[in-house]
């Protein structure tokens, strides 16, 4: 097994209603250290389900997920320990509304990594500075714009020092003028070497930042390759048809 593989899935399936609906239908995917894997596909193609399965927010019906060579689908395992190393950013931010930005960012490192409040706060303020929100540390989420919320959500995950970051349509709930600021943060993160898996409709981002693009449809991976291969020379007719609609 290659040491550089962070996440690998084997025959991942997610069925609803006893198999009548197949959100994932045998997905094998491998994410290597430092890769930025962007998953695209029509809505209902299973791309969000795939991403949410990677940290077991969705429990797969069949198949295995290996995180750093450990099969985390093994029910005997304490999945909470592995989730700490997988940051996740949601479409709707999911900041904790009853906590300040700073508390949002420090609660998990303090409670789970047993960091001192000072350590956690220093780290949080550093990260806030990186995303240009150092003056919003004491604000509550409701006082932030959508773009600011999502930037906070990203650095909140980073506070746990994850090995991989999962992004589930991070810009889909944003007003158009705020999409750029969030994508910029993600781009910087990618350039800093973070391993990322991103489900998005931002084809520009995929083309520019992705090291690999995966096209999914009907719960299966239809095609994958470099952004150039997928966007400029798609092989599968379904990929071609999807891209002709969105580009």
């Amino acid at each position: 097994m290659n040491d550089n593989v962070i996440i690998r899935t084997e025959g991942l399936c997610k069925y609803y209603r006893g198999g009548a609906i197949r959100a994932l239908d045998g997905v094998d995917v491998e994410i290597q250290k430092g890769e930025v894997v962007v998953v695209i596909g029509p809505s209902g193609s299973g791309k969000s389900t795939l991403l949410r399965s990677l940290n077991l927010l969705e429990i797969p019906t069949k198949g295995h997920i290996f995180f750093e060579d450990v099969d985390i689908t093994n029910p005997k395992l304490d999945v909470n320990l592995y989730r700490r190393k997988m940051g996740m950013v949601f479409q709707h931010f999911n900041l904790f509304p009853h906590m300040t930005v700073l508390r949002n960012m420090t609660i998990a490192p303090i409670k789970l990594l047993k960091k001192t409040p000072e350590e956690a706060e220093t780290k949080a303020r550093e990260l806030l500075k990186l995303v240009g929100l150092e003056d919003r540390a004491e604000a509550y989420p409701s006082q932030l714009s959508g773009g600011q919320k999502q930037r906070v959500a990203i650095v909140r995950s980073l506070c746990m020092e994850p090995d991989v970051m999962l992004f589930d349509e991070p810009t889909s709930a944003l007003d158009p003028e705020m999409v750029g600021e969030v994508l910029d943060v993600m781009k910087n993160l990618a350039e800093s070497g973070m391993t990322m898996a991103v489900v998005t409709h931002e084809m520009g981002f995929a083309r520019e930042v992705a090291t690999r693009v995966i096209f999914m449809d009907e719960g299966q991976i239809i095609e994958e390759g470099t952004p150039q291969e997928i966007f400029d020379n798609p092989q599968n007719p379904r990929t071609q048809s999807f891209l002709s609609k969105v580009l």
Partner: protein
């Protein structure tokens, strides 16, 4: 002016002679103590029951606990609190000397059954993304509940908890049934010794009314402060 002098005279005889007002003060303290104690116990029980019921929704292992909770809810909600008080005093805690403690436990257990449903609805009203975000950070289900869901749930249901406190305050007036000397029982006793059938009862009514009005005011202030994070 004659009636006024007569009235103050009656008041003097009713409340001041033999320091009878002191019984009322101790009774007042007891009423407050029972209310606060029962509310605290009720919220603790209610929270536990609510969390069990929410978690049991997706976890077969919790079904037996869920079943026990349902039995508790059915029994408590299916019988009058006075009867529960009698059962407590004369069957369950028959050897207990401290009536106040037994009253706190009884009213607390009773209140818990009603608070549980309120808290459960408060939990359900918290966006499901909050649980996901907590889990994604690596918190267990229970810790996410503790740090993230419950604080928000309590904020949602604070007015309902306040109402429960007001209801409890008034409900404790039946504690006299089992010889707990709360303010109502104290007034009743004064009434019986002085044959003044009017003033003790009216005074007690005024005390309850003032307490409830004060609580209502306090609650709205507190609620406004909690809403701060939603500006």
């Amino acid at each position: 002016m004659e009636w006024f002098n007569k009235w103050t005279n009656t008041l003097y005889n009713t409340f001041i002679v033999d320091d009878r007002y002191k019984t009322l003060i101790t009774g007042f303290e007891k009423t407050i103590l029972i209310t606060l104690g029962a509310l605290a116990l009720g919220v603790v029980i209610g929270t536990i029951v609510a969390v069990i019921k929410v978690f049991a929704d997706g976890n077969k292992k919790l079904r037996p606990l869920d079943f026990l909770c349902n039995i508790y809810l059915t029994i408590i909600r299916g019988t009058p609190v006075v009867v529960q008080l009698l059962i407590s005093f004369f069957i369950i805690f028959v050897s207990s000397k401290d009536g106040t403690v037994v009253a706190i436990i009884t009213f607390g257990v009773n209140s818990g059954a009603y608070v549980a449903e309120t808290i459960r609805s408060g939990i359900m009203a918290v966006d499901s993304g909050q649980m996901e975000a907590g889990r994604a950070l690596g918190f267990s289900k229970l810790r996410t509940m503790q740090y993230i869901i419950l604080p928000q749930a309590f904020k949602n249901i604070l007015p309902a908890i306040g109402n429960e406190m007001i209801a409890l305050l008034k409900e404790t007036s039946v504690a006299g049934y089992v010889a707990v000397m709360d303010i109502t029982k104290a007034a009743n006793q004064i009434k019986n010794t002085t044959y003044d059938h009017i003033n003790p009862i009216l005074l007690v009514a005024l005390v309850y009314l003032a307490l409830v009005m004060g609580l209502t005011k306090l609650l709205s202030v507190f609620e406004r402060r909690l809403r701060k994070s939603e500006r």
